[in-house]
Symmetry: C2
Subunit: 226 residues, 2 copies
């Protein structure tokens, strides 16, 4: 990028930091764990959310914000499960920003434990934008290949949790979950890694327990991803 472009990009990131801090402060005051779900298109974010709706207890205390370039489809899938869901259509933009989340906070139901934000399907750009989440989860699905953490490191570097998704396909594909885990941990040794199949249910309970633990540890302070 030229110097002018870099300056504008830094402006965008800087104004995003302030908006993200405000989202985090408001959600933590309410005791809500805000989760930013990131991955490539089709890694299974929406299907994982559909299963979480069935698993998280007590039921009914979650809401979802869906980000997509176009269409209302993902929000419709969650609403069909009885979950309050908002769809942000970015109209071309490759990631969500904290301001987009901030605008929706007043519309959320009063009694929430969890707010899930499903980012635009993109393993690159969303990683640069804090949405005010308290937990960042990156999904890597078996069909994408076990070599992705080193090729797309920022998403893995900035997340606290890695879900190796579509575990039911692992035996059918040239995907070595141990290599994926090892490379991800080389990028970010602090990552907590789960192997999950939304289809068979494998690993879901462990991931749900991780979400509850993260919520129990919430503090009102605004540390980034504390």
């Amino acid at each position: 990028m030229k110097r002018k472009d870099v300056a504008v990009y830094e402006d965008i990131l800087k104004s995003n930091v302030a908006a993200a801090a405000e989202v985090r402060r408001r959600m933590r005051e309410r005791g809500v764990l805000t989760v930013n779900l990131m991955s490539s298109p089709g890694a299974g974010k929406t299907t994982l959310l559909e299963r979480l709706v069935e698993k998280l207890t007590p039921p009914g205390r979650l809401a979802v914000i869906e980000g997509d370039i176009e269409t209302e489809r993902d929000a419709e899938r969650l609403r069909a499960k009885g979950v309050p869901a908002w769809q942000i259509q970015t109209g071309g933009a490759c990631h969500l920003e904290a301001r987009m989340i901030g605008r929706l906070l007043d519309e959320l139901p009063p009694d929430l434990d969890f707010l899930f934000i499903e980012n635009v399907g993109n393993l690159v750009c969303p990683a640069a934008f804090d949405l005010g989440e308290s937990l960042r989860v990156v999904l890597l699905s078996a069909p994408e290949g076990d070599d992705k953490p080193k090729k797309y490191p920022k998403a893995f570097l900035t997340a606290q949790v890695l879900v190796l998704s579509k575990a039911d396909l692992m035996g059918l594909l040239p995907f070595d979950p141990e290599r994926a885990r090892r490379e991800a941990l080389e990028v970010n040794p602090a990552l907590e890694v789960f192997r999950v199949s939304a289809l068979t249910g494998e690993g879901l309970d462990d991931f749900v327990a991780c979400l509850h633990r993260a919520r129990a540890k919430l503090t009102p302070e605004d540390g980034r991803h504390a």
Copy 2:
């Protein structure tokens, strides 16, 4: 985006148009079909290239430029097949730009029929940047889901060819190739669609024939994706 940001983005796109025109002019003068391969991470671009190396005749008249955020891995895979391959590491940037291609043109072998450019794995941002290709090919792999063309329309709108990849997995997954084809054609009725498995070889010959046809139709004029 704010007005200032939009202006900078338009500057970037404008300077890219000129660089792309120069790449296209130089490659067409030499009779080289330049192909821009775009998809999500892990849709099978590199594996498809490995198979094309074996299929394209006469052999040895192709070169590859690989784009990735980090690592030299994809270029190494192609070099292992005896193909001259250059790796562009964008160091964080989410797409290739025409200038990056232009810088490499003097290094290409003199006798080429095809230059393949494998873009950064990202179904969003690369679609906005003409690399000077004469053919744009978007891959959609079965595990990503048949609903993606409408959710990520720009890649499908700006391509001439759609490869539905990992066809060998279609029976195992909730992927309806007819729905994918139909939605893609609703976005872009001019798309030529191929169903390909790099693993079993299904559809490869048809796709190779398409590449030869596109090369035979090359003209020196600089129409965008003529």
